[in-house]
Amino acid sequence: MASRDSQVEDLKCVAAVKGGRPDAFGDVVKRYQDRIFNTIYRLLGDYQEAGDLTQQAFLKAYLSLNQFRGGSTFYTWLYRIGVNTALDERKRRSRTPQVLSETFIMSPDEDARRLDGSAASDDPGEMVLSRERETAVAQAIASLDDVHRTVLVLRDIEGLDYEEIAQVAACPRGTVKSRLHRARLMLREKLKGFVQ
């Protein structure tokens, strides 16, 4: 997913931070904050909480930077921290009865989108349908179990390839393949109305 240049940049930043330039970590944050945030948002399904968890993930990454040995690419290592942070929060919530694990809290602009004329289509019917579809997809993703949701988000939303997902999820590539297929089948079942 990441170009070789950006991987080199990552390693330079990591070396700089380890070498005593902590400000270099700011470049890492700026480069990956959108991707990590979006991943956590889609894994957790809670826009408000995703911001805080993204901060936590970067803090964890900074504090454990010495443990990054270069065995994987830096951004997959970062993704792994972000994914684990989101899943830990899911587990914590699952132990709290009043918080439903399948709720999906959209971002404010996403919630209000298509009602303020910013939609891609001008057709009001299409706007409503599109919004319903996105809500349904998001809720369907949120209803998957952790392992399937993780591979689905990393592949179909974040665009990681199977090898990268295997590094993030710490499982063999074959497991990624089977989990992803299974996740898509489950999702298709939940989205029957939108998929022929």
Partner: protein, 439 residues
């Protein structure tokens, strides 16, 4: 190839993640099987739905929040809390008993660590750093005249000066004061009582000084709260800077108010008051609009920091004749063994122009006599080769300075160093100033 097997491969086929041979076989099957082709189409639609989900960018300012979290986490995590018995002692002892104990302690320190005179005065320095710490045996204030006194004496003088005019009185060109090394009231969010030191850096080029200070801090793995903003919010940084500002711009505050412990006032000083602070009675001023750095470091790194900052002079000489003038001194707790003298002497960081090839760590040259006083940097053009030699010696010196700390095997303590930038004293203005006007 059976449909069931092909069906299981369709996701990977769609993602182009099958190996070429298997992908070829699947394609052959799809060409001949409408059911599997329809299945592939449904998967394609599904992934299309997922790809169509809007990507949400991170909220604005998230990177800043991350930076704040990291700073706060590091600042809070480093030091071990001080033993609780001190707190208990403070609560138990009455005021009179505390005063008596302080006198006894000062007397004891004075007797145990009788002044060891430096081999040579250091008259070409006009800035300093000094520590205010019960563990420090002596305070060594280095200026036009070297002050080298036991802690008790110096603190008593400082107290008298503060009581006179609300500010420390120092003669121009002699010794800039610390801003008071006040406790800045962060008890609520820090687990211990980090020591706060002040480092006054006299520099003609603030930009160069700023870069150099940060580079030195970074190279020593010292965390720097850099470019502290004026007063953005009730943040950790704001409290730190407020601790500086409130102290510096409130010279007329009553001694009682100054001595009152606790957090600094919540209200922020006005912009006008913050604009330029008459930091002391002499010609130097600390411009409040300029960066103030707060460095958080392990106590063990203090000698290295001061040494490296002092090394700036070499570069300044090479690049700009009127360049920066970093001079600093820090006191290392005196050792009790036979090396006490040498360590005490090496505790004063020589200015780089004095860290020459002939100077050893005891402050004497190879002939065993005190190193000669070198003219100020503006008047000296340091060649490149001696500069390298001096850097090497500075490194050795830093190593020497750190040794006693390593041997002590004590838990490193967190120390805050506030770095103030000042303009260098013009030679013509370097007249002795009187005591500040009484308010």
């Amino acid at each position: 190839m059976k449909c069931r097997f092909v069906s299981e491969q369709l996701s990977a086929y769609l993602d182009d993640e099958l190996d070429p041979n298997l992908a070829g076989e699947v394609k052959e099957h799809l060409d001949a099987c409408p059911a599997c082709t329809a299945e592939l189409q449904r998967l394609r639609e599904l992934t299309g739905l997922l790809h169509a989900l809007p990507r949400r960018p991170a909220p604005d300012g998230l990177d800043q929040e991350v930076a704040c979290r990291i700073e706060r986490s590091l600042l809070l995590a480093t030091p071990a809390p001080r033993p609780r018995r001190y707190v208990v002692l403070r609560r138990v002892l009455s005021g009179a008993a505390l005063a008596a104990a302080a006198i006894l302690l000062a007397l004891g320190v004075y007797v145990m660590f009788f002044p060891v005179r430096s081999s040579s005065p250091v008259p070409d320095r006009d800035t300093l750093a000094f520590r205010r710490d019960a563990d420090a045996k002596r305070l060594r204030l280095v200026g036009k005249e070297t002050v080298d006194k036991p802690v008790g004496d110096v603190m008593a003088e400082r107290a008298r000066a503060e009581n006179q005019g609300g500010k420390l009185a120092f003669e121009a060109g002699k010794t800039p004061p610390s801003a008071g090394a006040t406790d800045i009231g962060l008890d609520a969010i820090r687990p211990s009582q980090p020591e706060v030191l002040n480092l006054v850096v006299s520099a003609a080029d603030f930009d160069a000084a700023k870069k150099h200070i940060l580079a030195v801090a970074d190279s020593l793995h010292i965390r720097a709260l850099r470019d502290l903003p004026p007063q953005p919010a009730d943040t950790f940084k704001a409290k730190l800077i407020a601790g500086v500002a409130v102290r510096a711009i409130a010279p007329t505050a009553s001694p009682e108010a100054r001595e009152k412990p606790g957090p600094p006032p919540a209200e922020t000083p006005s912009d006008a008051a913050m604009d330029k602070d008459e930091y002391r009675q002499a010609a130097l001023t600390v411009d409040r609009g300029l960066p103030v750095f707060v460095l958080a470091l392990d106590e063990q790194k203090l000698p290295s920091l001061v040494t490296r900052l002092a090394a700036r002079r070499l570069d300044a000489d090479a690049d700009s004749p009127g360049g920066s003038d970093y001079v600093a001194s820090v006191d290392v707790p005196a050792a009790k063994d036979a090396e006490a003298e040498a360590k005490t002497q090496s505790a004063v960081v020589p200015s780089p122009s004095r860290i020459s090839g002939t100077r050893d760590l005891s402050g004497k040259d190879s002939r065993g006599v005190p190193a000669p006083v070198t003219p100020p940097p503006a008047a000296t053009a340091t060649p490149a080769a001696p500069a390298e030699a001096a850097r090497t010696d500075a490194g050795k010196l830093a190593g020497q300075l750190q040794k006693p700390k390593e041997e002590s095997a004590q838990t490193p303590r967190l120390v805050f160093v506030r770095v103030f930038l000042t303009r260098p004293l013009p030679a013509a203005d370097a007249k002795p100033a009187a005591v500040p006007p009484a308010k």
